[in-house]
């Protein structure tokens, strides 16, 4: 039997987040209409009222899981998706809202259960991978829109996306930027942070603040020693690791080494 040719179906889902990563798709001003021509954008609430029922060939998931309702919803999304890719630090690591994970959880829980009619939230913010199988995780707070186009292209071509897991340091070298850590003594998380942004901060005379999360096998202990030599206090070391990817294991453990 002949199989009718059809365009692959893309869905974009939102959980707890700022909308910035899905906005990156609309920010692909030069590529958007080409993308929309090659695929069927079947579900993308930020952009259209139209909804085409699943299953979907590729689901892009933004945001973290912070409610009981969303714990169920992500399972439903997974069931309807051939491939599921998380976009951004919230979906991949729990995001900035995962700072609640280190707060007075007892206080949060009693608040939640005392007035469930008022506030419906879990005590934790967790990445999508804590709930369902994820086929690829795109890092960043926010993601790099060119990496997003690469991921969509790769999945449509049924190949692995190119998104190197090395550190921001390599991107600085590729860009020809001066090392702010060595040359200026500026505290920088570049040596332990996952590439992808294009080393923006050092190019603007600023140390990397780790918004792409940990690289593969980061040596945070060694970096913290260097930063302490530069005069970074224990309290500030703790804060440095405890931001948009605080819930990832390497950054969580390193933050804990420098206070609570």
């Amino acid at each position: 039997m002949a199989v009718p040719l059809r365009k692959p179906k893309l869905a974009v889902w939102k959980f707890s987040s700022c909308d910035g990563c899905q906005l990156s798709l609309l920010d692909c001003e030069d590529e958007l209409l080409a993308v929309a021509g090659a695929i069927d954008i079947a579900y993308f609430l930020e952009a259209t009222r139209a909804e085409v029922a699943g299953p979907y060939d590729l689901s892009l998931v933004e945001g973290s899981i912070t409610t009981a309702h969303d714990e169920e919803r992500i399972k439903d999304v997974r069931r309807q998706s051939r491939a599921l890719v998380t976009i951004g630090a919230c979906a991949t690591a729990g995001g900035i809202q995962a700072l609640r994970n280190f707060a007075d959880v007892a206080g949060f829980i009693s608040a939640v259960y005392a007035r469930p009619d008022y506030i419906n939230t879990l005590a934790t913010s967790t990445p999508i991978s804590a709930h369902v199988k994820v086929d690829f995780e795109l890092r960043g707070c926010p993601i790099n829109k060119y990496q997003l186009v690469e991921v969509i292209t790769a999945f449509l071509a049924k190949r692995k996306p190119t998104a190197p897991p090395h550190s921001v340091c390599i991107e600085c070298k590729l860009r020809g930027s001066v090392c702010v850590l060595v040359a200026h003594g500026t505290p920088c998380l570049g040596p332990v942070t996952h590439a992808g942004c294009g080393a923006i901060c050092p190019t603007y005379d600023r140390g990397c603040y780790g918004c792409y999360g940990p690289m593969e096998t980061p040596n945070t202990v060694s970096l913290s020693k260097k930063l302490a030599e530069l005069g970074v206090t224990e309290r500030d070391l703790h804060r440095l690791y405890r931001t948009f990817n605080a819930n990832t294991e390497p950054f969580r453990m390193e933050a804990e080494r420098h206070g609570s």
Binding site: E46, T121, C197
Partner: protein, 430 residues
């Protein structure tokens, strides 16, 4: 007549997750609720104990569509607490960055989120099938705004270059001049946009709103000015809390702001800014408004798309003016010395006034934070609009009626991600 309920379970083409319930009884709208179910993210809770210097980057993450509004409001609040003034080219650069955000955000809303309502499309991508040139024009406009954000801020979503006292690095004149070329084309597009959207079919709906926005003696407002209204309010950001208060309504994960004196709703955003500051628009923007038949005060929220287009002309004009006068400052920031105190900041996000207040310790540690975004201020007004306007359309078929209700919400370009970030956690231990 029996009771009838119109429900929109997932509002499309807004930022964030919201829903709508309109209850009709005896052929009258009995109640309208904009339900915000975007989960709370507790920003104010975890800002406590952080350094003052972290606030611009942390609060930016409240909203991916208007991060600059959060960055600007937080740095102004911190500088207020520390007694610092940022002037000259650094001040101009902040204004320029804000122009970029307005162009990006308004371009997105006018072309991709709002125009499809008037032309009968589900979204801009569907509209592109019939009107590719129109959508391309909108994308070019948006791209000019994003380009400006990228030159100054390093990237368009969550720029990295803003800090208390100024910037990490001041852009080179030649890089800004390059961005200005795209802005000149964008300005032409914006003028065409005003003409285009002015020709849409607008329902004849006006209400007697209390308009609230910043007002600066010499400029259309971005970062500075008094908070004023068309009913005589004239206060500084320090006094905001005495005049406006929030209520927690059970159907929403966001707090609703109302006036403290009479509990009334008020309106922030393009209609308010325009109505209170028409005289401070550039000559080109004023001319674009006049030729579109827009009076200096507009009280029809459906025409907010025309006002946004006029603001697009202004933002392009203002950005080009700032770039032409730009001289790269020797230092990218003024010195910052923290001290204990309270700092207030109010600025104009694309969708309306945003207010930040921080209590700070002697070393600049944040003790307490309060953030009020525009959408929580507009929420009560949106519900009143639905109650007032929907009555006229009750005879429409269900799908058309539902669409009208959605459109009424989208008039405000609501940012639901913003509105829910700040839910106060209320401990009730029974």
């Amino acid at each position: 007549m029996a009771r009838k309920t119109i429900k929109v379970d997932n509002l499309a083409r807004v930022e964030g997750e919201g829903a709508l319930t309109v209850v009709i009884r005896d052929n009258r709208v009995q109640s309208a609720e904009l339900r915000i179910f975007e989960p709370p993210r507790f920003f104010e809770a975890f800002l406590r104990g952080r350094a003052y210097s972290e606030a611009p980057d942390i609060t930016a993450r409240i909203c991916g569509i208007c991060p600059v509004a959060y960055q600007m409001s937080s740095v102004h609040a911190m500088e207020d607490a520390f007694g610092i003034a940022v002037g000259g080219q650094l001040r101009a650069l902040r204004r320029l960055l804000y122009c970029g955000e307005w162009i990006e955000s308004h371009g997105l809303h006018v072309y991709m989120l709002h125009a499809p309502d008037f032309l009968g499309y589900e979204g801009a991508l569907e509209m592109a099938k019939d009107h590719a040139d129109v959508v391309k024009r909108g994308l070019a406009l948006k791209k000019a705004g994003n380009g400006l954000m990228t030159v100054i801020g390093g990237r368009e979503v969550h720029p990295i270059n803003v800090r208390v006292g100024g910037f990490y690095k001041a852009p080179l004149k030649r890089d800004l001049v390059e961005a200005a070329e795209a802005l000149k084309r964008a300005r032409d597009i914006a003028v065409d946009t005003v003409r285009w959207v002015a020709g849409f079919d607008f329902p004849d709906c006006t209400r007697d709103y209390e308009l609230v926005s910043l007002q600066h003696p010499d400029e259309y407002p971005f970062n500075e000015g008094h908070i004023v209204s068309n009913r005589g309010l004239d206060i500084t950001a320090h006094e905001y809390d005495q005049h406006f208060g929030e209520q927690h309504v059970p159907h929403s994960n966001a707090l609703q702001s109302r006036k403290r004196d009479d509990g009334g709703a008020y309106l922030v955003g393009p209609l308010a800014r325009y109505g209170l500051n028409f005289e401070r628009l550039s000559p080109l923007a004023k001319e674009a408004a006049r030729s579109a038949g827009l009076r200096p005060v507009c009280m029809n929220p459906y025409q907010s798309i025309v006002v946004r287009a006029v603001e697009l002309v202004y933002a392009c004009d203002e950005a080009i003016r700032i770039i032409e006068a730009y001289e790269r400052p020797e230092q990218p920031l003024v010195p910052v010395v923290p001290r204990a105190g309270i700092g207030y900041g109010a600025t104009e996000a694309p969708r309306g006034m945003i207010y930040h207040c921080y209590h700070l310790d002697h070393d600049g540690t944040i003790l307490n934070a309060k953030i009020i975004p525009p959408t929580s201020q507009n929420q009560a007004t949106i519900e009143e609009d639905l109650t007032a306007f929907v009555n006229a359309w009750l005879d429409l078929p269900e799908t058309a009626l539902r669409h009208r209700c959605e459109q009424t919400v989208r008039n405000y370009d609501p940012c639901i991600s913003c509105a829910t970030h700040f839910l106060d956690l209320r401990l009730d231990r029974g």
